[in-house]
């Protein structure tokens, strides 16, 4: 296809030239993946072939657009309406998300629009209707927006399974993926089932550097508060700035620190996932209207509407991941073909080194990406159940269809059958449900035994499983909602405790009907708010760069002077960690022995390593007392010294410990809950279902314990264990660390080494306690009895 004259005129009237990649995409005959920076006319490029095709009459749905964000679908609908009106095209464009009214949805099923804009979850829902073949039978094009983001989690896997259905329903389908810059475009093309990669002009190199600060970063910490006045100055000089911070709690604290120093009263907003939806919408609206000079944000702003006016991005804290840094920098895109401007603020001395390494990687366009492995089976279980909702299916045909989805290209028949078995009977060793199967085979086709089950299955659609969150409100009648905190965080609060939310310090009063009630406490220093347990670990590749930089004294010239001196001292007193060698140091400090392990494997893996090594130390009688993990190192303290770390780092010993430890671990129970919810073993808690203290269902922990005891080989436990190699347990990176270690270098020192010194100041110490929880409960109960005069 070439650009018809009417479209050429339209471009000319806008004063635009079509980008080469827009024309390439128009000419493409097969599936394509467009890699383009933000502001490159990516979305228009994706829709241009559809608009051109729709100048001729078409019956039914022609183009389906899928984006990860509901807000984006509305935005796209608005943006498309202009060329459609200008060109006088007779095209109906509608969106369909969880917010679409029931009447509109019902109409869309009977009379679909020409172009439908939707999300992966809504697409999965539509595919579960009996009318799916009629709705999608005439589909010609699918546009997948922000595919790089979708490919990072199970939403993308679900989307690819939906795409395999669409390809079966509409064999002539042409698929276009749109993506920001990624490390390996061919991998992303394989993810979407194969596609020709089209590169847009990546634009000029970004203008990116460390933010010059008056003070040097502190030895330890993560807040970046030392740089508050420098950040304010940069904000004052820019038009609009996004300040990215790694965690919600840090964002709250930094936001507060900014306002405390904001003498010029620059309008600055806050945006993160724990704020109430209203609060986030207010910030977004103010941002879009150009009323804010800066917004302090977490990953909640990684995607989303383009705010054309953003001309500076500041990243506070080490970026952890080069690809994400590049994508964040891309948000400062006020003009295509003008360099994005970004500044990084390391929060500690160690982070200075990580920031220098990350800047080198950005300059070399060397992006990182940790492989997610094959498509997860819990998502496949959900897909099988939803397929049955749409109508009877043949197992062989469905298996063949699923293997056309990129993440499931290498799915084995045995795994597929295990998922089908789970969907049909629960897949238990004890065959209890022969009479009550969920799916049954009749005349060679699998179908729902009870068609009424479809309703529950549809309510369970999706792969996002939120932690149990509790609303936070001011105390009193009709108190204003402030946001949400994780139930686990709320459980640690005692009346009188203070924490930060929405930029203000509040005092916890009580928990009433599953709402956390608080009062304003402006004067008090807040207790640190840790309402998000999830911390992103530094990527494998960036960790390697940091290690290589530290280990090569010739490269230290690129570091600030204080970091240089610090490493020089370390080389004199002990030695520098370097690639191929795993450095460990043992030294006494304040009557305790300490062991520092410079693993450079990311904080999640090193946290797991800490749990496993302290177990082995306990067995060896070394009396470990606690540990802490950062992205670079693990520090363990004990009563007796570790003189030979080799047995503690034995691969088999660690792997054995992993199996035992996982049994009772809260992280694993959380993974199990996610897996079991996605697979359809447990029904998700619908909004509003938890209004009172009545727990409608028992906790998933009980199911986990029961399965481990009575059916340890069950599919759900198998999937849960597979997830442990990545994510929060991240055992895969412990193995990676051992793989790249040719030798151990153990140093017995007389005192703390320069490299270990910052570790002593870090927060997040984990005490080792067997009966700890029980003793805490006992002490609390006894104190309460005494207080009530009952003991």
């Amino acid at each position: 296809m070439t650009l018809p004259p009417a479209f050429q005129d339209w471009f000319a009237r806008q004063g635009w030239q079509p980008h080469p990649h827009q024309l390439d995409l128009l000419a493409a005959t097969g599936d394509s993946l467009l890699i383009a920076p933000t502001g490159g006319g990516k979305t228009l490029a994706g829709f241009l072939p559809s608009l051109v095709a729709l100048t001729a009459p078409h019956r039914g749905m022609h183009t389906l657009y899928v984006s990860p964000l509901k807000a984006l679908t509305a935005d796209i609908a608005r943006n498309l309406s202009r060329p459609v009106a200008d060109l006088g095209l007779d095209i109906r464009i509608e969106d369909r998300t969880g917010d679409t009214k029931a009447g509109q949805r019902a109409r869309q099923r009977v009379d679909p629009p020409d172009i439908l804009l939707t999300t992966p979850e809504s697409l999965a829902l539509m595919l579960s209707y009996e009318q799916a073949p009629a709705i999608f039978g005439g589909l010609r094009r699918v546009v997948l927006d922000e595919l790089h983001a979708l490919a990072e989690n199970k939403r993308g896997d679900q989307l690819m399974l939906a795409l395999s259905r669409l390809r079966a329903l509409a064999p002539d389908l042409q698929v276009t993926g749109l993506s920001a810059t990624v490390e390996d475009p061919s991998r992303l093309a394989r993810f979407m089932g194969g596609a020709t990669v089209i590169h847009a002009d990546p634009g000029p190199d970004p203008d990116i550097a460390m933010l010059a600060t008056a003070k040097a970063p502190p030895w330890a910490g993560a807040g970046g508060h030392y740089a508050v006045s420098d950040v304010l100055e940069a904000v004052a000089q820019a038009t609009t700035t996004i300040i990215f911070i790694n965690t919600r709690a840090q964002a709250e604290l930094f936001f507060q620190a900014l306002w405390a120093a904001n003498d010029a009263n620059l309008p600055i907003g806050l945006h993160h996932g724990s704020l109430s939806r209203e609060a986030r919408a207010r910030t977004e609206a103010a941002m879009a209207a150009g009323e804010l000079r800066a917004v302090v944000a977490t990953g909640s702003l990684d995607l989303g509407i383009d705010w054309g006016a953003v001309d500076l991005v500041i990243q506070v804290g080490a970026p952890r991941n080069v690809k994400r840094l590049v994508q964040r920098i891309g948000r400062a895109n006020h003009r295509y073909n003008a360099p994005s401007r970004a500044r990084i603020v390391p929060a500690s001395r160690f982070e200075v080194i990580e920031c220098v390494a990350a800047l080198q990687a950005v300059r070399e366009r060397d992006l990182d990406g940790d492989d997610r492995g094959p498509g997860p089976l819990d998502v496949l279980c959900q897909h099988i159940l939803l397929t049955a909702c749409a109508g009877p299916f043949d197992a062989d045909a469905l298996f063949a269809e699923v293997r056309t989805a990129g993440p499931y290209a290498h799915l084995t028949r045995a795994d597929f059958d295990a998922c089908l078995e789970f969907a049909a009977t629960g897949g238990y060793a004890l065959r209890a449900y022969d009479r009550w199967q969920r799916l049954m085979e009749r005349d060679g086709l699998w179908r729902l035994r009870d068609p009424r089950a479809a309703r529950n299955l549809r309510m369970n659609i999706g792969t996002i499983v939120e932690a149990e969150m509790l609303k936070v409100r001011f105390r009193g009648r009709g108190g204003a909602p402030l946001g949400e905190v994780e139930e686990g965080f709320a459980a640690t609060l005692a009346p009188g405790d203070t924490f930060l939310i929405g930029g203000q310090t509040v005092r916890y009063d009580t928990l009433r009907e599953m709402v956390v009630e608080v009062t304003k406490q402006p004067s008090k220093e807040p207790r640190i708010a840790t309402f998000s347990g999830m911390k992103l670990a530094t990527s494998t590749q960036l960790s390697h760069r940091v290690l290589a930089l530290i280990g090569d004294p010739a490269a230290h010239a690129g570091l600030p002077a204080d970091a240089r001196d610090w490493l020089a001292l370390q080389a004199r007193v002990s030695t520098l960690p370097r690639p191929g060698t795993l450095l460990t140091e043992a030294f006494p400090h304040q009557g305790r022995w300490h062991l520092a392990v410079y693993g450079f494997a990311g904080r999640n893996a090193l946290q797991t390593l800490g749990l496993l090594m302290t177990r082995l130390m306990e067995e060896a009688g070394l009396a470990p007392l606690g540990f802490l993990a950062t992205d670079y190192a693990l520090l363990i303290w004990s009563l007796d010294p570790v003189t030979d770390p080799a047995p503690l780092l034995d691969r088999e010993g660690l792997r054995e410990g992993l199996g035992d430890w996982l049994a009772s671990n809260a992280v694993m129970k959380r993974s199990f809950r996610n897996v079991a919810t996605i697979a359809g073993l447990i029904q998700r808690n619908l909004p509003g279902a938890r209004k009172s203290g009545r727990q409608a269902t028992f906790s998933s922990d009980i199911l986990y314990d029961t399965l481990r005891k009575y059916d340890p080989d069950h599919l759900m436990l198998r999937i849960t264990a597979a997830e442990a190699s990545r994510g929060l347990v991240d055992f895969g990176r412990i193995e990676e660390m051992l793989d790249r270690t040719d030798r151990l270098d153990h140093r017995m020192l007389e005192r703390v080494s320069p490299l270990a010194a910052p570790l002593m100041l870090e927060l997040g110490r984990v005490p080792i306690a067997g009966q700890g929880r029980e003793r805490m409960a006992e002490a609390e109960a006894a104190a309460m009895m005494a207080e009530a005069g009952l003991s």
Partner: protein, 221 residues
């Protein structure tokens, strides 16, 4: 301690860490809300296919309690079965185990809202609406003083939710003994109305008494 001793309605009783109530003077063991056959009932109604092991798990724990206390009488305080059909559908091996447990002792099934008939023809024992013999035993609390179940009381302690006994002047409410059972927090209005002031005895590794109702943390609020 594996149990907490207390007095209710003039009787010395023990709240066991397992969630069972022991009346030592009579050698009665009382358990509430076993909900046997729960996963079968959910599957029958087209719901999720839960791990079908909750009846095994519940019986394992009940067997351990019977072995530890050697009661003369075992009372199931209502909702012994998740519904009457679940009671009839219990697998043979489960019935065999229940028969073995009942050997040499009296077994009483009190009916509950889930199992109004409270019978399984293949199981030993008598079915009763309620029992009045030194203590009044019934499924749902009525005019006190009485011993009942039904609410599945729970309490938060040190960040954890634990099943608990709830002991007031008029009512003694037992936790659910069954494996897959949710719960109602003792701060809920329904439970506060029955026990405005008293103690909760949390179950778990040990039985832990905690005050509830007026006066709890008065200084802190």
């Amino acid at each position: 301690m594996t149990f907490h001793p207390f007095d209710f309605d003039g009787q010395a009783l023990q709240a066991r860490a397992s969630g069972a109530l022991l009346w030592p003077a009579r050698r009665w063991l009382i358990v509430a809300d076993l909900h046997l056959g729960k996963s079968e009932r959910m599957a029958r109604r087209g719901g999720a296919l839960l791990p079908p092991y909750e009846t095994l798990a519940t019986l394992d724990r009940l067997e351990a309690e019977i072995a530890a206390t050697d009661p003369a009488v075992v009372v199931s305080l209502g909702d012994g079965f998740d519904d009457d059909a679940a009671g009839r559908a219990l697998p043979d091996d489960i019935c065999d185990r229940l028969r073995a447990m009942a050997q040499g002792r009296r077994w009483i099934w009190i009916s509950g809202n889930h199992d109004p008939a409270a019978v399984c023809p293949r199981l030993p024992g008598d079915s009763l609406e309620q029992l009045s013999d030194g203590l009044i035993l019934r499924h749902e609390a009525g005019a006190g003083p009485d011993v009942s179940g039904h609410f599945h009381p729970c309490i938060r302690l040190a960040g954890q939710r634990r099943r608990c006994f709830l002991v007031g002047r008029d009512h003694l409410i037992l936790p659910a003994f069954g494996a897959y059972t949710g719960g109602l927090e003792v701060t809920d209005r329904a439970l506060q109305a029955l026990v405005p002031k008293g103690i909760a005895i949390a179950c778990g590794a040990r039985a832990l008494p905690v005050p509830v109702g007026q006066g709890r943390r008065a200084g802190a609020a």
